[in-house]
Amino acid sequence: MAAVEVEKLTKRFNGFTAVDSLTFRVEEGEIFGLLGPNGAGKSTLIRMLTTLLPPTEGTALVNGYDVFRQQNEVRSCIGVIPQAMTSDLDLSAEENLNIFAKLYGVPRTRRTQIIRELLQAVELEKWAKHPVKHLSGGMRRRLEIARGLVHEPKIFFLDEPTTGLDPTSRIAVWEMLVKIKKQRDLTILLTTHYMDEADRLCDRIAIVDHGKLVALDSPMKLKASIPAASFLEVSFSAVPEGWLETLKSLPDVAGVIEHDHIFRIASHNGPRTTIELVEAARRADIEVSSLSVQSTTLDDVFMHYTGRQLRDELQEKTYETSLMPPR
């Protein structure tokens, strides 16, 4: 049985389609990421799966229970961390956990034990009695992770768990999630717009844009699915006439764009293109001023499938200026 099974799930708000006929499965024990820019419909999807929003169309089963018809059964077997930090600031970390354990109906004897275990797991034992308002953002997020686990759920939903955290805290949260997942045999479904987060944490990633599923696979396979394997960014001491065409004609080059005398080259074979590039510069009697080689990132994957860059959607970088050909 799949942990989550979504079939043509749709949500419309006054004519606006936030989630458009999504179909996918999340297998037991995997970390499944929903990657997409803000407004892609990730949070709406997670809210439907956690019974907070009724779907307009389609079905979704969580741990075998229908999210529309068996809401209480669904709620009992899921842990949810919403996007906003919602722990009570005036209450201590322990009190927050205790109240949620009661809300989930955890028996008194188990409550004390699980709270101690979870505080230990998220490394907040020393802060158990401190009001949450005295904790840092990263510590609060870790507390929320513990809060979502007080009733020992089978499936854990996290809506952008590291948004607003500094890089160190983000890494700490990732490590914590991986550790807890192993310890508690959890299935995790998380949403994120951070490519590195999805890349590092997720077994499989569903790329969502404008409410639609545009790609779904493991990070490695997604990256392998796009034409170029590497990207080179290079500048030269001078730019001879017809230089763009020369670069395009180099072996393994999939495409070249120039912006402000910086050339971005998509290549099927980064190392070989680099050698050829240096050789071509020597022949043209110019010097390579700067050179960087990058492997394909999920941002490139996102760009390939949507025609836009995920890392800065405000740039609205379109296909015309992009190296990535559309699917």
Binding site: L53, S76, F100, K102
Partner: protein, 370 residues
């Protein structure tokens, strides 16, 4: 039950850790009780009446002796003599004096001849309270002046004997019932309105909604936690207020027990009303914006500051459905008359039925989803 208790526990922990919030729900009604209680409760004193005496006969001397007695005892007014009536009227218009008493030239002769003697009181009637006080004193004064010099052995006319059932009730005691209800209301407004919507806006309710808690448990949790805070506010203000206002025997156990019942029933009524109003609201500004309107609309028509019998019909219709009216009546009965449950049973029944209706509608309108 555990889940309901979890919501109550969380709310009360927050409440006791926010002293400012606790004080806010008590300070407003307490200040109102003391300021309004003393502002409206006192007798009007130290007015100035200009006397234009154009007579100078024997009877005016008697009148002036009476004025002197009032100035020395009740101190409602003192007199200032004027020779020129125009000057007296000018001073009245300019606010230097509060009234002018004109004694015409033939006053003493008319008194002795019993020929319809008259004196005139010219008032600044822009202040109804002052004019009422002066009219009351002068009517009594003229009544005393008209008394026969030799009293008949057996009075021939009808006389009215007034017997007061309870000790004198200063205005601050009259106002106390309204202040206790106001404390409960402010607490309901903060706990059931402002904090409820703020928590909703901050996403705290989202945390509740993903747990297996039922709709009924959620509503009961919110209502009971709000009511607990309102009950605390009501208890503190009834005790403090009773001591401040000088209610006789304020700590009588029998009355305290009855007060607790009224406080609990009133708190449930007001918090359930607040919960119904806020059940579909998401904007944190709304409860803050409607606070003043609700306070005016519910508190003033309730009979807390002025008797309901004086209200125009449209306002009386508000008092019929206003829960404040019944709560204020019940508290007044207990504070001022120390009655038993029979005298307040109608109020308790209304407030209980009101709570049930509010809770039913709130439950129907409450959304278990976002």
């Amino acid at each position: 039950m555990n889940r309901i208790m979890a919501i109550i526990q969380r709310d009360l922990l927050k409440f006791f850790r926010s002293p400012a919030l606790m004080m806010a729900s008590l300070i407003f009604p307490l200040v109102q009780l003391v300021v309004l209680g003393y502002a409206f409760g006192g007798k009007i004193k130290n007015l100035t009446v200009g006397v234009v005496n154009q007579d100078h006969g024997l009877e005016t001397v008697r009148l002036r002796e009476m004025f002197g007695a009032i100035a020395a005892n009740a101190r409602t007014f003192t007199t200032v003599g004027y020779n020129d009536p125009q000057k007296a009227l000018e001073d009245l218009r300019e606010g230097r004096i509060n009234a002018v008493l004109e004694i015409p030239p033939d006053f003493s002769r008319n008194v002795l001849e019993q020929h319809a003697p008259q004196i005139a009181l010219i008032e600044d009637n822009t202040d109804n309270f002052v004019t009422s006080a002066l009219e009351g004193v002068f009517t009594g004064l003229v009544g005393a002046f008209n008394q026969p010099r030799v009293e008949p052995r057996v009075p021939g006319g009808v006389s009215l004997q007034i017997v007061e059932l309870y000790p004198y009730v200063p205005y601050i005691q009259y106002l106390l019932a309204g202040s206790v209800v106001l404390a409960i209301f402010v607490s309901a407004m903060i706990g059931g309105g402002i904090i409820f919507i703020d928590d909703k806006a901050r996403g705290l309710h989202e945390g509740y909604l993903v747990t297996p808690i039922t709709k009924f448990e959620l509503i009961m949790g919110f209502t009971l936690s709000g009511a607990s805070k309102a009950i605390l506010a009501g208890l503190v203000l009834s005790t403090l207020g009773a001591l401040l206002a000088g209610i006789p025997n304020p700590l009588s156990l029998a009355r305290l027990a009855r007060l607790i019942v009224v406080i609990v029933v009133s708190s449930m009524a007001l918090i359930s009303m607040m919960f119904l109003m806020m059940v579909r609201i998401t904007d944190p500004l709304v409860p803050r914006a409607i606070f003043g309107v609700l306070n005016t609309l519910l508190f003033f028509p309730s009979g807390a500051v002025y008797p309901i019998n004086a209200f125009p019909p449209w306002m009386k219709s508000i008092t019929i459905i206003d829960p404040f009216t019944y709560a204020v009546h019940a508290f007044k009965s207990l504070f001022l008359k120390n009655t038993g449950f029979v005298a307040i049973s109608g109020d308790l029944i209304f407030l209980t039925v009101f709570t049930i209706i509010m809770m039913t509608f709130a439950t129907l309108l409450f959304r278990r989803t976002l």
